[in-house]
């Protein structure tokens, strides 16, 4: 579903990505671990088409992102570290707006159901975004992914800054999406969450994907040890 082939990205002389190959299947959660500046966000931005690769290709559902960006975006939902929505709209209205932008329209009931399914409390559905916490905004983002029936979820450190309960709820949502066959690529610093929710974990260092492992083959402690080992090399 998500595929990167020999992906490089240079900023002038600086090599942000040095030839990355990556594949995320349907129903898979691929977590990218790595230090700041390792190239996690660059990878995600390349999948989003925000930036153009220096060489190599990025495919979403077999579509070359650099060629048909709009077609590719049909399948994506993106949730950044701090998902911001239109403050003058309610969560409901935001969801409705973004759905329409993707060419999908739902009844009022359907939209409300999507939001409750994403875990948003009923009384907040029609309140302005200004009254939402960060976790609640993320839930609207997930609702959007469900509404769009996105096949791909791109997440950039979605749980940083969330309290443990919200973080846990978010992980549950991700697992639910995974069961529906969604392919997820998530950049994160949170080793614990990566192991809990991830199917595969890629460790990035200085623009290279140094290791790809199956999440269930390790305990959190082992994973941390492995990560630190890579970092020290």
């Amino acid at each position: 579903m998500l595929e990167a082939k020999a992906l490089t990205k240079n900023y002038g002389n600086y090599q942000a990505l040095k030839g990355i190959d990556l594949h995320v299947q349907e129903g898979e959660i691929f977590c990218l671990l790595g230090a700041n500046g390792a190239g996690k966000s660059t990878t995600i931005n390349l999948f989003l088409g925000f930036i153009q690769p220096t060489s190599g290709t990025v495919y979403i559902n077999g579509i070359d992102v650099s060629r048909e960006i709009l077609a590719a975006r049909q399948y994506i939902t993106y949730i950044p570290e701090n998902l911001m929505l239109y403050t003058y709209l309610s969560g409901y209205e935001n969801l409705q707006y973004f759905c329409k932008l993707s060419g999908k329209s739902f009844s009022k009931e359907q939209l409300e159901n999507l939001l409750t399914d994403a875990g948003l409390q009923k009384e907040f559905i029609h309140k302005r975004i200004t009254t939402y916490s960060k976790g609640m905004r993320q839930k609207v983002g997930v609702a959007l992914a469900m509404a769009k029936q996105s096949k791909v979820l791109l997440l950039d450190e979605p749980t940083s800054g969330l309290d443990p309960k919200a973080s846990n709820e978010f992980s549950d949502l991700l697992l639910k999406m995974k069961e529906n066959g969604v392919a997820t690529l998530m950049a994160t610093h949170d080793i614990f969450r990566a192991r809990e929710t991830g199917t595969k974990i890629g460790i990035m260092k200085s623009g290279e994907l140094v290791d790809i492992i199956n999440a269930d083959a390790f305990t959190t402690k082992d994973l941390e040890a492995l990560y630190l080992k890579h970092m020290h090399n």
Partner: protein
């Protein structure tokens, strides 16, 4: 999807109290401007009615002289005042009037700077024609708060307030990245956002103008042309805002840049144009002092004879060979008046030519200065532009020739005026005209500006993504 974007923009607008406040504020200022503009016009119309009534009363009274009892001295006097061109040529005063057009209240233009009526007799024209209305110069300096001012000066500010954060607020509020992952071209969304704001401001302008059109009974064609100019001018400013937004700088620097451009188009460019035009095309009215001086005669036989012979040389058909002091004295001033005007004419012609030249240059330069251009277009359409005033002056000169023909001609031929003559007394009929060629050129330039900006903004936005 287009509908969804427009609907959301609408929500964004009406849920933003400050924006709604500015919008309504402009609406009410606009209403006041309409009221003010037409009150000014009404005031001028009242003055016109007043001088017209004076003129009518004057002729009503004076024509009674024909039926006066000439056996009595008082009756004789009355008869002479109307039948003897010697007296009538000075006593009878005619009004030349520059009537305001139906659009004048929307764009007062130069109506407050120029006198719009003249009271003339058949004596020297230049002694009478240069005058000024009673004015408060500081008020003229402040200018008129008419609807054209609202559109030219204040609407761009509203547009700036609406558009400075077009893209930057998306970036600053973080919604930018979410928006950009939608399967819709970002440039298309921004285009729709600009279009929505354009519709919003154009709706306000139209609402205000249509009010004024109905109030003043503006002909449909003129009204449509007016709205076309408004739509292009607002389009121009949205194009500017669109371009600035496309550069994707932060809100503060957008607002600053837009305001700097506002200043450029509404203050710097016009004031520079004025400065250059004054420098390149000097106008010097001090030469005209000779022409406006009261006609003087040397009232001696020699002096009068000299004037008469000079006059008869030019107009031999008036020469009645009567060189008596009485006859020469009687006619001397009329002759000197005609010759005085002729002598001063070249200076007056030069003065108006200087003004026309200056106007010609400025108007051409203003083609690349959309704000002034728009104001000019409004003035052309409302017939409150300087060209109409210059034309009016030319017409006044022609009319004065007819006055001379009506009074001085029979006077010099020793004829009396009859009731029948008065049935064909001259009357000033002139209406200002709309210069459609100038409007056409102006509108084309405005359209080019607007189109370039919108296309340019689209291009910048496409490239930056």
């Amino acid at each position: 999807m287009r509908k969804a974007i427009l609907l959301t923009e609408w929500k964004a607008f009406y849920r933003n109290n400050i924006q709604v406040f500015f919008y309504l504020l402009l609406f009410f200022i606009g209403l006041y401007a309409i009221h003010y503009g037409y009150k000014e016009v009404e005031r001028q119309n009242e003055v016109i009615a007043f001088v017209k009534a004076e003129e009518d009363r004057q002729f009503e009274n004076t024509l009674k002289g024909f039926s006066a009892d000439t056996t009595k001295p008082e009756g004789k006097r009355l008869f002479h005042e109307v039948a003897e061109p010697r007296y009538a040529r000075l006593g009878h005063r005619y009004n030349t009037i520059f009537y305001p057009s139906s659009l004048a209240g929307l764009s007062l233009g130069q109506r407050d700077v120029f006198p719009y009526y003249h009271k003339l007799n058949s004596h020297s024209l230049y002694m009478q024609v240069f005058k000024n209305e009673l004015v408060n110069p500081q008020k003229l300096l402040a200018g008129n708060l008419d609807i054209s001012f609202i559109i030219v000066f204040l609407f761009p500010l509203l547009i700036i307030a609406f558009c400075y954060g077009l893209v930057s607020t998306e970036i600053e509020n973080g919604t930018y990245s979410v928006l950009k992952t939608q399967p819709v071209a970002f440039s298309k969304i921004i285009f729709l956002k600009v279009s929505f704001r354009y519709l919003l401001t154009f709706a306000l302008a139209t609402l205000l103008c249509v009010d004024a059109f109905i109030y003043a009974g503006v002909p449909v064609q003129a009204a449509l042309l007016w709205l076309l100019i408004v739509s292009l001018y607002l389009g121009f400013w949205h194009g500017v805002a669109f371009c600035i937004a496309s550069l994707q700088k932060n809100s503060a620097s957008n607002a600053m840049s837009l305001l700097a451009l506002w200043l450029l188009f509404l203050v710097v460019l016009p004031s520079l144009t004025n400065a250059v035009s004054i420098y390149k095309y000097p106008v010097n009215p001090t030469h005209l002092s000779n022409g406006i001086r009261r006609i003087q005669l040397e009232e001696t036989k020699d002096g009068l004879f000299k004037v008469a012979s000079a006059f008869y040389q030019q107009y031999p058909w008036y020469n009645d060979r009567d060189t008596s002091m009485e006859n020469l004295y009687k006619k001397g001033y009329a002759m000197a008046g005609i010759m005085g005007d002729e002598k001063a004419k070249s200076g007056v012609v030069r003065y108006y030519a200087q003004i026309r030249n200056r106007d010609g240059w400025t108007s051409q330069f203003n083609l690349i200065s959309p704000a002034v251009q728009t104001q000019q277009l409004f003035n052309y359409l409302a017939c409150t532009d300087i060209t109409n005033y210059l034309n009016y002056h030319e017409e006044v000169e022609r009319f004065h020739k007819r006055l001379v023909r009506f009074y001085v001609h029979p006077f010099l031929l020793n004829r009396q005026l009859s009731v029948k003559d008065y049935q064909h007394k001259p009357s000033f009929r002139w209406l200002p005209s709309v210069s459609y060629s100038r409007i056409g050129i102006g509108i084309s330039f405005l359209a080019i500006w607007t189109a370039l900006l919108w296309v340019g903004a689209h291009f910048i936005l496409k490239r930056s993504n």
